[in-house]
Amino acid sequence: MKKILILFSHPKFEKSRANSILVDKIKDKEGVTFCDLYERYPDFNIDVEAEKELLTAHDIIIWHHPFYWYSCPPLMKQWIDMVLEFGWAYGPNGNALNTKKCLNVITTGGTRALYCEKGTNSFSVTEFLRPFEQTANLCGMRYLPPFTIMGTHKIEDKELHDYADKYDKLIGLLQQGLKLADVGNFSFLNDIPQLNT
């Protein structure tokens, strides 16, 4: 079974209905390490060595966060800046993360329909996520398409629980070794047939 590390970043978790439902579902799952970054590093002073050890001990890294201004919350960017060190994660001899898999799990207020050329947001989620994709690539990781919970402003609790079940199922698939090849051309992991049977 693959080991999964969920790096969760939310500056106001206690007020996030969607994320509390999602997190409650998966945080105590066997083989999953749930790491609440804003709880661990409230002062942004990240313990780089400890984070590197965590990364080394896991096979799949999930960046779970709300999608703020088309990107991640600042602490997660701080985490990327500090932990993915030159000479360790990338650069000469920087191969500590080779062969690991990586993906974003994001919540957005706007619906998927708004994220397209004609929508208010002009670009697709895939395009907005390019920096993360390339970060993973540069570190030699295989980047999977995102799992998204979109339109959270209007979603009912019931639907959120459905998302949580799907998230839980996805983690199961990843633990059993879901491959990039299995994903096909889907832009969202939400849509792969393995999750929708």
């Binding site: 002073n45 800046d81 500090m82 060190e85 030159f86 650069g91 000469p92």
Partner: protein, 628 residues
């Protein structure tokens, strides 16, 4: 069997050890233990100590002098100046009121006016030794009541000089027999009053000047030699010297010592002097209390039980009433007033001096003096017991109650937090918790503060948190977290020890006044330690560096690094150098050693390089020697 010095020493020490440990176990003040030990070993119960008890009494009065010196050390001159109104106001009212009432009382008992006046003077004075020792033991010196008691006692110390000066005027001059006089005359006795006053003033000024320009330089020289016992000798020399000077001009040595202490309170030797003299003071005071106990003359009591009993009750009631009124005039809260009333209701050690001086002047007859001496010793023994009854039985029912029922209207009910100490440190904690709707149960021993907090809606218990029953009623049994935010690390230690053994489930979060307190807490296996002296000093240092041009964000990260580094070394050093509780003599030296080790480590660590994050230069460097 009495007579051998060794034997006497053993009797005193054994008596003290047995009685004081029993008293402490029962939760009583050590003063009471000593007094009872004195009664036990005295001539009327076990008979180990005979007449020589009185000589010991005079010798041990020196403990009072040392205590005043030590208290002076803790009071800086400007604070002393601030207290002047309370000293004169409260002290004046108490002494004048008590003298007036008790004068008529003794007239009623049938004594003639001279005797009555002498008795009235003796009765007006309270026992510095008993009252202050008890107050300090409970850590209450900084409460309203503690300060009031202290002020009154200080005023009495001053006024006793005038009383001793007045006594000869009462004497029937023709029959004064100076042979009877046992040394309470001073060099100045025969000078005119104006000159006496002048020389008193001169000697006070002399103490102040000598403190600054003679004593401190001398201490520096002594400290330089590095011979520890020289410093002990010097400390004793200071106290003896001041006492001698005071006795020469007819002032109370205790008052002089207090002044000397105040003068030295700003010097760098403050703590050194404190730790040096503390054990001497404690032993001498203990001896003093035992001598008082031993001096209770049960034969006199047996001869005229009604007179002694009547005077005893009347004196205590009268003093209590006047103290209560004084407290009311100066607007003390009811319970602080009660504490004041009972802590100062005894007749003090100055009475021994006044009475024997009056006897030597033939103002009193032997039997009159004996009765009054017995009454004095008895009041000293009884008032601590009444004080205890007051605290245990009366106070919980009166005025500021230890607890009040108040509906808890906040969600934070499920997690119970107790906050002990609501001074500057604790109040900030309480306020912040409150902004989150967390209503901590607060324990504090200043009732004026407690009442105010209650008005603000805080859930406050009044009293000494180291008392098990109070903690229990504050709900320690089902508390999750206990915050210790008191000023005094020793009191915190006592509280933490008790909670740790009786309520191991409660999480202790402890304020550490400094590194040394932190070491002790770490060695008690308390993990959550918050040092007064860490964050704010680093904040200041980083602002300095920022002013000089260092970047703020880097400094902020360096602070975090430094705290981590310092915390690690704290834990390491705590294991290496355990400082014992009781080893006063070596404590200061040990602390110095640890400071040295700390600085040595810093030196080895050198200037800490900023880490590589966001540092383009580092990447450029590695790119130079690779093909990346």
């Amino acid at each position: 069997m009495t007579g051998s010095i060794l034997f006497e020493a053993i009797v005193f020490l054994l008596g003290a050890i047995i009685c004081v440990s029993i008293a402490k176990r029962l939760g009583l003040s050590s003063v009471l233990g000593y007094l009872l030990a004195g009664v036990l070993i005295g001539p009327y119960v076990l008979g180990f100590i005979g007449k020589e008890g009185e000589d010991i009494l005079h010798f041990a009065e020196f403990g009072v002098v040392m205590m005043l010196f030590l208290i002076g050390l803790e009071i800086e001159p400007k604070n002393f100046w601030k207290m002047r109104k309370t000293i004169v106001g409260m002290g004046g009212l108490q002494v004048a009121g008590t003298m007036l009432l008790s004068y008529f009382l003794f007239i009623l008992f049938g004594f003639d006016w001279k005797v009555s006046l002498t008795f009235a003077m003796a009765v007006a004075l309270s026992s510095t030794a008993i009252a202050l020792q008890t107050i300090k033991e409970k850590g209450l010196l900084n409460t309203t009541f503690g300060q009031s008691s202290f002020s009154i006692l200080l005023f009495q110390d001053i006024i006793v000089i005038f009383m001793l000066g007045m006594l000869p005027l009462l004497a029937n001059t023709s029959s004064v027999s100076l042979e009877n006089n046992d040394g309470h005359t001073s060099l100045l006795q025969n000078l005119p009053l104006g000159l006496q006053t002048l020389s008193i003033l001169v000697s006070v000024v002399a103490i102040i000047i000598a403190g600054k320009y003679l004593i401190v330089p001398m201490l520096r020289k002594v400290a330089k030699t590095g011979v520890r016992e020289l410093l002990i000798a010097a400390a004793l020399l200071i106290v003896f010297g001041i006492s001698l000077l005071m006795e020469l001009v007819g002032l109370s040595p205790a008052l002089g010592a207090f002044l000397g202490g105040v003068v030295l309170s700003n010097s760098e030797f403050k703590h050194e002097l404190e730790s040096t003299l503390e054990p001497f003071k404690n032993l001498l005071l203990g001896l003093f209390f035992m001598a008082v106990g031993a001096s209770i003359n049960f034969i006199v009591i047996a001869k005229s039980p009604l007179t002694v009993g009547g005077i005893l009750v009347a004196v205590i009631v009268l003093k209590a009433v006047i103290l209560f009124i004084t407290g009311a005039v100066f607007k003390l809260k009811l319970n602080q007033r009660m504490l004041l009333t009972f802590s100062l209701a005894q007749v003090g050690e100055f009475a021994f001096v006044l009475l024997s001086f009056a006897f030597s002047l033939n103002i009193l007859e032997q039997s009159q003096m004996d009765i009054m001496l017995v009454v004095t010793a008895l009041t000293m023994t009884i008032t601590p017991i009444i004080g205890m009854i007051n605290e245990r039985v009366l106070l919980p029912r009166l005025g500021t109650k230890e607890s009040i029922k108040r509906p808890m209207d906040h969600i934070a009910k499920s997690q119970k937090v107790i906050l002990v100490g609501f001074g500057h440190y604790g109040s900030t904690i309480g306020r912040f918790l409150r902004t989150h709707g967390v209503e901590a149960t607060i324990l504090d021993h200043d009732s004026n503060r407690v009442d105010f907090l209650r008005k603000m809606g805080f859930n406050v218990y009044y009293g000494d948190a180291t008392r098990a029953d109070l903690l229990k009623s504050a709900g320690i049994a089902d508390a999750n977290i206990l915050i210790c935010a008191m000023d005094n690390p020793d009191v915190i230690k006592q509280l933490a020890k008790m909670v740790k053994s009786k309520y191991p489930k409660v999480k202790l979060m402890v304020r550490a006044k400094n590194r040394y307190a932190a070491y002790e807490f770490l060695n008690m296996e308390i993990d959550h330690i918050y040092r007064d002296s860490l964050e704010t000093s680093l904040k200041l240092a980083s602002e300095v560096l920022s002013q000089m041009g260092f970047r703020k964000y880097t400094l902020q990260r360096q602070i975090k690094n430094f705290i981590k580094y310092d915390e690690d070394s704290l834990r390491r050093l705590a294991k290496e150098g355990k400082i014992g509780d009781d080893n006063y003599i070596f404590k200061a030296r040990k602390e110095l050693e640890q400071q040295e080790k700390l600085l040595e480590q810093d030196f080895k660590r050198g200037i800490v390089e900023f880490d590589g994050h966001w540092d383009a230069e580092q990447i450029r460097k590695s790119l130079d020697d690779s093909s990346f």
